[in-house]
């Protein structure tokens, strides 16, 4: 047992640059999809408040479909399926596109929930004052809805971090992939995976702390 730990920590030290590199890739992906997922989520949400019934229906379908479909299937579709039609992309691009589509659907759903809880008279008042639909959305709806959704949105960021580990299944060499390689060199699977779990836990805790700070700030303002 003690020998096992020593072997593990020796190999970990040896491969540390690779592992750290993987961690950076993980954080890269997490940050990228958190931002793109939020932006696309806002767009989808905007379309779902649109006057056109057709557009509303389509966005509803979008949200429902991507919430109902496993992320991993979406990634496999893009990574293993699309090449058949001549579309080949790097693992990172695939992960980025797949996650963005998926995360945006969730974020749009959170924003919609917050929107449904909003005071309708406030929006009517803004319209009555002569603001256009776009202006009402930009100056009234969006700021409020975003503020109300902060806890859900930060939970989504935590989810993004954890789910990014899925990307190794499409050969993206992020943190968990590097940990696999590490485990494969000394067969200390238990220790390697436990180490991975602790690292994820630590980053999640960090995000939680930051989120608390953001929530507090927003509480003081609003």
């Amino acid at each position: 047992m003690v020998n096992g730990w020593m072997a593990f920590s020796r190999d970990l030290q040896e491969q540390l640059p690779l592992v750290l590199n993987g961690l950076i890739e993980t954080l890269n992906l997490t940050v990228a999809i958190s931002i793109s997922g939020l932006l696309l989520g806002v767009v989808v949400f905007y379309l779902s408040t649109c006057r056109s019934a057709l557009i509303r229906q389509v966005t509803k379908g979008y949200i429902s479909f991507f919430i109902g479909m496993p992320l991993i299937v979406l990634l496999f579709l893009i990574y293993y399926g699309l090449p058949q039609w001549g579309v080949r992309m790097s693992p990172f691009t695939v992960a980025f596109i797949g996650f963005t589509l998926n995360v945006a659907a969730y974020n749009a759903a959170y924003l919609t929930t917050a929107f449904n809880g909003m005071d309708a008279t406030e929006l009517e008042a803004a319209h009555a004052q002569g603001f256009s639909d776009g202006q009402v959305f930009r100056y009234i709806t969006l700021p409020q809805v975003l503020r109300l959704s902060v806890p859900a949105l930060t939970n989504q960021v935590i989810g993004n971090l954890k789910d990014s580990s899925v990307a190794f299944l499409i050969q993206y060499t992020e943190f968990f992939a590097r940990v696999q390689e590490l485990a494969a060199t000394n067969f200390q699977f238990f220790k390697a995976y436990l180490f991975a779990a602790l690292v994820y836990l630590a980053i999640v805790s960090l995000i939680v702390v930051i989120a608390r700070m953001i929530e507090k700030r927003i509480c003081i303002i609003g």
Binding site: F65, I67, G68, M69, P70, L71, I72, V73, L74, F76, L77, Y80, G81, L82, P83, Q84, W85, I158, K162, D163, S165, V166, L169, F176, A183, F187, Q188, F189, F190, K191, A192, Y193, L194, A196, A197, Y200, L201, V204, S205
Partner: protein, 217 residues
Amino acid sequence: MDMLGILQHLAGGVVYTVLVTLVCSLTGLAVGLSVATIRRLSGAPLRTVCDVYTYLLRGVPVLVLLFIVYFGLPGIGLKVPPLLAMALSLGLISSAYLAEIFRGALDSVDPVEVLAAQAMGMTRFQIFWHIEMPQMLRFSLPGMVNEFTSVLKYSPFAYTVGIPEITKEAITLTATTLQGAEIYLVVGILYFSIYRILLVGVRALERYFRVPGIASL
């Protein structure tokens, strides 16, 4: 191969997908209920244990815990069969999320009703069983549905431990036919259909148990 042929090939996996989803959901429900109950009925030390449990399990990726259980535990002498490994990873993680949902729901039970039950002469456990839990379950219904759909969507990980569910079948089929695009489209549609059927079932359940004046949270 046309879509229908693909569908026929994948159909066998549906059973396993549903099985994995059910086993993990029920594990999550049983453990999550227990954790919420223990947390509600016991003193500070056990309550902290419950909080640590939910915090830890909500901080670890499903895939990582699955690998710990399935590929890691044998290294220290514990061989875990695939389905049990799913229950001990995906199931337990969902138990942590469910326990949190239940905790929030318990906070919405009116303390005066608990006091009234106490004044009636009920034991603490009777109060929990007859007053708090029935209300808690109704309050948490939407959260529970979300959690069960989430379990369904993580169920493809079962392929990594060799369970022949939809995704596993799709991988095999893709290797032989090279029709990945159609196959994964069908897979997506299959999951989506299972999800919708699950929703219909839950809605029916919800209607059956609905009580006027208790809105779901």
